[in-house]
Amino acid sequence: MPAPQCASCHAARAALRRPRSGQALCGACFCTAFEAEVLHTVLAGRLLPPGAVVAVGASGGKDSTVLAHVLRELAPRLGVSLRLVAVDEGIGGYRDAALAAVRRQAARWDLPLTIVAYADLFGGWTMDAVARSTAGTGRSRACCTFCGVLRRRALEEGARLVGATHIVTGHNADDMAETVLMNFLRGDAGRLARGGGLGSRGEGGALPRCRPLQLASQKEVVLYAHFRRLDYFSEECVYAPEAFRGHARHLLKLLEAARPSAALDLVHSAERLALAPAARPPPPGACSRCGALASRALCQACALLNGLQRGRPRLAIGKGRGGRDEEGPPPPASDPGSAPDPAAGHCGAACKERCG
């Protein structure tokens, strides 16, 4: 049986059915529809004002590749200019291959690329070194915690280097759905209160961040990359299998089988969650060491690095532990941390937990 006609141009044969609506579309019309929806999200949410210099967090994975491509198409209409910022965490055998993909993309699209490395920013601590340090304590999953927080700092540093005014990351609807499930399972009321919007406005001097792909499902992102023949890096981080996000991801796949709109329903729930004022994160101040956004005396990145330097890598991780104040009693209740980590792409499942 031949494929039906494309529902929008009625000329070409349909190549796919959109997962969301079941509408049959040809490749070109689907890509146009996808771009139109991203444009609508950006305009309706007033995410990127005209004249903004936008730093795209590029990791070489499918989400950030699609994001960069779409924004490049839409840049003339939005009146923004793009810069690519890639973060090198120093994970051997994974990150260098991903960075090669980013370099190819930058060359093809003729966008300025800046690479910031953990080794330069954080005094020689690469992710492999962190993993070695935390592995001794018998809890190797903690290295994903470090990666997420430090990447957020690195991205912000990179964005400031290129003189950007906004940061965008390629989180899609499935990522946000997994994040809300995970935050509920872990009881992280602070992140639940912060999440749900399309990004953060940028308080206390931090750059505003947003996620234009938030309302696009992962399947559509992959299909877009396929139809536009984009070149991206699709392997998993070596530390990914131990992360908690894997449980949430598995659950989301099952939910989508039972109800196809499960990811968007979860995003809607996240938007509408009402948490008690006491559970919300405290108003942010500045870190005493680096001057970045922080709710305590030390920002999360400085606290984690502090713990690493002192040889006590679990110092600032978990609730009720010290290390986040330079002196004074350990902080109560939930883990405030810094604002969500905007890093994109395939850096392993748990990295995105910091972004939620």
Partner: protein, 564 residues
Amino acid sequence: PKPFLDDINRPRSGPPTHRCSHELKCVKCKEGLPVIVIRAGDAFCRDCFRAFYIHKFRAVLGKNRLIFPGEKVLLAWSGGPSSSSMVWQVLEGLSRDSAKRLRFVPGVVYVDEGAACGQSWKDRARTLADVKSILQTTGFPWHIVALEEVFALPPSVLRCSAQEPVGTIGTYKVAVDSFLQQQHTLVAEGVGGSPNSTPGEEQLSQPCTQDPQDLAGPPPADQTEALSRLFDSVKTLTAKEELLQTLRTHLILHMARTHGYSKVMTGDSCTRLAIKLMTGLALGRGAFLAWDTGFSDERHGSVVVVRPMREHTLKEVAFYNRLFAVPSVFTPAIDTKAPEKASIHRLMEGFLLRLQAQFPSTVSTVYRTSEKLVKAPRDGCASGPRCLLCMCLLDVDTADSATAFGAQTQDCSQMQSPTPPAEAPTVPCCSTEVGRAQNCAQAQLCSHREDSRACVIEQLCYSCRVNMKDVPSLDPLPPYILAEAQLRSQRYGLATWLGECWRGPSRHWPPWGRVPRVWLPPGPRRRSRSIWWRAVTMTCTPAGAEPGCPRSRRARMGRQHVIV
């Protein structure tokens, strides 16, 4: 307490230390032989466990101070372990000595859902006989209702009746003190049988004659068939479970209202509430989680739903029922023997229980997160239209399209734009030949049906809308839902139209509340109204009125008052 992340990172591998069983003692009294291990390794002996369990029940009731002395409370009993345990606790609580006795007047209701689950009348009758025998031993006034009675419910069930002011701690204390004083005066004057009886007690001690329904015969066959037709037409198990829950809630509320109960107690345990919370998230009910899983649920106005078992885990309930022989009845539910991937409820249940086996604090963490939720919309506007089915404030905002809801509706409108709308023609067709009028009537009835579906869907919250996508036709729904939908859309349509013509003080219109404009899209609303009227005018007067003519519109409004 240990930080949660430790538990995540180190899954439980077994009991901490293996000691000989005669050395392990109850952690509370340090003497008795332990029979159960709950929480994270606390071993309790039989008596301490019983005291702990009962204390938790009383503490939850006492802490929240919502149930006033002498109040009539309806216990919703499903026959399952949690609700049986709750009924048993209430029974025990009422029979204690005067100082610690529970002070409300209970009744029990059991909803027979056999028709929705596809059971034959023989099986249902057998179950009902067991149910009846258990209910008679409790001694409370009991009611057994079949789910088929939803087809006889009035539309007033869906209206949020005027809320009584919530009692503050001050009024609660005053009420309790006056109740105790009344009791003392009764004792002092020697009124009543036993020295500790109160008017409520006397009511209870009478033999139970309050069963209104004769259980000899099955409910009317057409209702049973209508119910099974409704549930067969729903495509997915998720939507079936949600629909069943909605109908059951409406039925219990109706029972409570007609028999004068002001509170309803349901036996949701901690585990069940954690599962319900996660399921609610996945269904899009993030805005309403505090009402769905909190201790008290005041959405329905005069009747408040209370969950006293919310701090008992399912394990404690199961062991208590076994150790102290609490009677319960097994009834197959709509998802019995369904595969795990069949519905979102089953998936969440399986997921959470499996995760709990690996990380033992999962359920309590989710429960604690639910305690941090508040009953307020995120953006702060606390009044507005309520969902037709679940009676929560609508959480869809058609104005803001940079949201998940906006993304889905935008898609639908893009999909429908290529196909030309087969809606009502602009030519008034009532004035031509019969044949054309008949065709027009049919086309208009079809578009009227689509419009009636659209007008019901518009009045639903996000999660109810997603559920209704799995219900292909709204006709099998019970008539009270459709009637109330019709009534509301007419009222709001009338309010909008009159609000436009009204030059007077607009803050007094409409008198039943604020009508925000956002949820009434202009196009289909006016079309549906005019079509509805065209259908009615065709049946009333063949030479109907032109639409748009002001005089005929006024005349139609006059007729509207007559019909409505």
